[in-house]
């Protein structure tokens, strides 16, 4: 199962994900990019689709559920707008939609997923700060990257050692 990961260190703050999300969801964006100037970081902020989602656990009507795709979604026909999910969510994700009188949140682009397409935020992201990956893929990727760094560091040390500059 692919997970949507967000890596703020790659985000350049262009907010394409926000616009893409708003277009896909008819006028509501479920991702917000926070630009933290002092830290020089841009943080795309969206639902984490928790494995043990408190919003699902607390929902009194079963409106909040977890799909096979891993997406935690609201069924608007069952939602009564009690805001319990809002209280328990550690990330402040579900928001009340006053026109529909239900909670709304990121659904990892359920419609697009049914057509075999990645979420709009992932598809549009110019830097790959928002991306889909299998857990194993991500772990592998990170390990390879770090291995390369180790290799080049060791090679540098060996070079210095050959030049008699350090003992190795």
């Amino acid at each position: 199962m692919k997970v949507r990961y967000i890596d703020p260190s790659k985000c350049i703050g262009c907010r394409a994900c926000e616009v893409a999300c708003e277009r896909e969801h008819g006028g509501i964006a479920h991702v917000t990019v926070y630009i933290v100037e002092n830290a020089e970081l841009c943080i795309p902020y969206a639902c984490r689709h928790c494995e043990n989602a408190p919003c699902v656990a607390v929902c009194p009507t079963g409106a909040m559920s977890r799909l096979d795709t891993g997406a935690v979604v609201v069924n608007p026909l069952l939602c009564i707008g009690c805001r319990m999910c809002q209280i328990v969510c550690p990330f402040g994700i579900p928001v009340f939609e006053p026109r529909l009188k239900v909670m709304v949140k990121c659904d990892l682009c359920r419609d697009r997923a049914s057509r075999g397409l990645p979420p709009a935020c992932v598809a549009t992201c110019p830097t790959g700060a928002t991306f889909l990956a299998e857990e194993a893929e991500l772990v592998q990727m990170k390990r390879e990257l770090e291995t390369k760094k180790i290799v080049s560091a060791v090679m540098r040390a060996q070079q210095l050692s050959r030049e008699g500059l350090v003992g190795y």
């Binding site: 790659k10 350049i12 703050g13 262009c14 907010r15 394409a16 926000e18 616009v19 893409a20 708003e22 277009r23 006028g27 964006a29 630009i35 100037e37 002092n38 020089e40 970081l41 841009c42 397409l117 598809a123 549009t124 992201c125 110019p126 830097t127 790959g128 990257l145």
Partner: protein, 682 residues
């Protein structure tokens, strides 16, 4: 629902996307993951193209009358425009009319526009980018390396070991270039050096940020070259074998020690040295720049200095190197190749090149073409003042808002006897017109665009134009018919025009409609023949200069003739935001963009703000000798002290100055305007 591939109409990166349509009507977009340029990714702008459905789109030709705009038929509109053109040409000569073309036109349309102007007997044809952004790069590029385009491609930027981003903020202005190429290079270990008075979001990702004072870039570049030469860090073999004029360069940069230059450019000497050492370590590197380098009094000199810097480093003629200025508009590269310029013919030939001029004339079925240089955009104002230029035909450009000093531009356009404007909307410029022609948007027609990495791509027709809006090509051909020039314009489609371009422009010889329409990756020009693969790297064996060698053009730093003073002590720099484009004609009508980028916000440094009593978020009036503008201001530790940064989309050109220009190219000094700030309130 249907999906059609188009090339994005905003910046020059050349991203592709699908437009989803419902019976010819815009219904959304989808990501075109097979594009090798953007792999599906796009910035916020094309994510909301709902401006295409705006109720304010022009759908009928309009004529200005005493009681306001009157809708007229196409035949009436074209008849009147043709009559006026014929009148002026016969009474005052062909140079009494001028054409001023959008750089958002397809290659085919730009080509036809310049052909029409030249067959009418005038070289009065120019495009807006030439005099507002890219001309200094072309002048300097031709002198030094014999090319006006990027010497490599985006892929070469991604393969660089060092990337120097000088006066360019791709995180804001070219997000896909930033994400897919620069960030990837960085992940692979490339060093990124940013030169900018603002610590931009691009600089947040850089290894080194050089906070230069706007307009002093020559001093900084000379100091870096000084270090390279003094410490013998430059590529001596490359300079010996492939360059000329090194001794003269060495003499000029001699005095620009980092300590000396630092006093001019404001960058600490140790950062100048570190930049030089970082660059010198790389065998392959890229130096790219944009308007941050160019919008000052010494723009062409700045470009000369950076071309020279790259030559000292040997960053030419091989994979992993890319040097040049990034022209911003989606088809400015293409229209330069199409000869949409008052001094250059299709293929880049000078008007004085008799052999090629006559060859093109013969291709067109005439004996010769006008050889006197046309009035460029800059001299246009003078020509209007002197009564030399009486009629102007503006296609898809909005100079009233995009040129310096809005009032000055508007006053001059009003002085014209007859103004025709062709656009999607009734822009500030169109409001001054006598006749307004409703144009189809890019997705409502088809043709080719050439992106800034010289990649030609075909953009297909996805939608029906609203009402009676028509493609520029249709309008130009219909106009030509009414001018009795029908036999020169026997086109029934853009493909017909491109086939003619294949014959006339040698570098497009192999860019055939068939090849282009069947290609997902497009073709890099020069591509002289149908079996040619296209050219990724320029200047591989020889430079395009007469001698075939790189020519060093040493330059001295010169202070601006009109500078900051006690009256106007701050430097105004105009900037851009990622979600808006230029004068807002398109993006200003897409609601998801407007709600995020609603109004300009100026930026000022912490110390400067303290001195002036400015608090974060208060409203201020920015005043220059040309006028004033009220905006909200943010106090930021990311801006050089003494500098005020203001996004220009929302009418900032009301206070920029038409007199402050680069001496060689005439490009406005949008990033070195003396100003002062008055606090208005919370």
């Amino acid at each position: 629902m249907e999906r059609t591939k188009v090339v994005c109409p905003f910046c020059s990166v050349g991203c592709s996307l699908y437009i989803v349509s419902d019976r010819g009507r815009y219904a959304g977009i989808e990501y075109f993951t097979e594009s090798p340029v953007n792999e599906g990714a796009i910035c916020p702008k094309p994510n909301d193209l709902s401006f295409l459905l705006s109720p304010h789109r022009l759908t009928k030709p309009l004529k200005k009358t005493e009681s306001g705009w009157r809708e007229i038929s196409w035949s009436e509109a074209l008849r009147e425009v043709a009559e006026r053109i014929r009148d002026y040409v016969s009474k005052y000569g062909p140079d009494s009319i001028g054409f001023f073309v959008s750089v958002k036109m397809f290659n085919e349309e730009g080509y036809v526009a310049q052909k029409l102007a030249r067959l009418l007997g005038t070289n009065n044809i120019d495009h807006i980018c030439r005099r507002t952004c890219q001309f200094p790069t072309i002048i300097a590029g031709k002198e030094c390396a014999g090319v006006g385009s990027l010497t490599g491609t985006f892929r070469d930027i991604a393969e660089s070991e060092v990337i120097v981003l000088w006066g360019i903020n791709p995180a804001e202005t070219f997000p896909v270039l930033m994400g897919k190429y620069i960030m990837r290079a960085r992940e692979r270990g490339a060093k990124i050096i940013v030169v900018d008075p603002v610590k931009t979001r691009t600089a947040w990702k850089a290894d080194l940020w050089l906070p230069v004072i706007p307009g002093t870039d020559v001093a900084l570049a000379n100091a870096i070259m000084h270090v390279l030469i003094k410490e013998r860090l430059y590529r001596e073999d490359f300079v010996r074998e492939r360059c000329e004029g090194f001794e003269a360069l060495a003499r000029v940069v001699e005095k620009y020690s980092p300590e000396y230059a630092s006093k001019i450019c404001g960058v600490p000497p140790h950062l100048i040295r570190e930049a030089a050492y970082t660059m010198a370590r790389a065998e392959r590197g890229s130096i790219i720049w944009s308007t941050g380098l160019i919008h000052n009094h010494q723009a062409t000199d700045c470009c000369r200095a950076l071309y020279a810097l790259a030559a000292l480093l040997g960053w030419y003629g091989k994979e992993g190197t890319c040097v040049g200025g990034l022209k911003g508009q989606n088809n400015v590269e293409g229209l330069v190749h199409m000869g949409v310029a008052p001094t250059v013919l299709p293929g880049g030939y000078s008007l004085s090149d008799e052999e090629n001029r006559k060859r093109i004339a013969r291709e067109w079925g005439v004996e010769d073409l006008p050889s006197a240089p046309g009035t460029n955009m800059l001299r246009m104002y003078e020509a209007i003042d002197h009564g030399d230029l009486r009629m102007l035909y503006i296609m898809g450009a909005n100079p009233v808002l995009s040129e310096p000093n809005t009032q000055y531009v508007a006053e001059h356009l009003k002085k014209l006897e007859f103004l025709v404007v062709q656009d999607l909307f009734l822009t500030a410029t169109a409001q001054l017109a006598d006749i307004v022609l409703p144009a189809a948007a890019w997705a409502e027609k088809e043709g080719s665009f050439t992106s800034v990495e010289r990649r030609v791509q075909w953009s297909f027709r996805a939608l029906d134009p609203p009402g009676e809006a028509r493609p520029d090509l249709w309008i130009l051909v219909e106009l030509a018919k009414r001018l009795g020039l029908e036999r020169f314009f026997p086109y029934t489609s853009p493909e017909d025009v491109l086939r003619e371009i294949n014959r006339v422009v040698p570098s497009y010889g192999g860019v055939t409609p068939e090849r282009l329409k069947n290609s997902k990756e497009g073709i890099f020009v020069p591509c002289p023949s149908p079996d040619h693969p296209g050219t990724r790297i320029l200047c591989r064996d020889r430079f395009g200069t007469r001698s075939g060698k790189f020519v060093f053009k040493p330059v001295e730093y010169v202070p601006p003739p009109i500078d900051v003073s006690s009256e106007y002590p701050l430097i105004l720099v105009t900037s851009r935001v990622v979600g808006m484009w230029h004068t807002l004609t398109m993006t200003g009508r897409s609601s998801y963009l407007v709600e995020r980028w609603r109004e300009p916000e100026a930026l000022i440094g912490v110390e400067t703000a303290k001195k002036l009593g400015i608090e974060d978020g208060c409203r201020v009036r920015i005043e220059t000798r040309r006028g004033s503008l009220e905006v909200r201001i943010r106090v930021s530790n990311k801006v050089r002290e003494g500098v005020v940064v203001l996004p220009w989309h929302w009418g900032a050109n009301r206070i920029t100055d038409e007199e402050l220009r680069d001496k060689d190219s005439g490009v406005p000094a949008f990033k070195r305007v003396p100003c002062r700030i008055v606090v208005v309130g919370r």
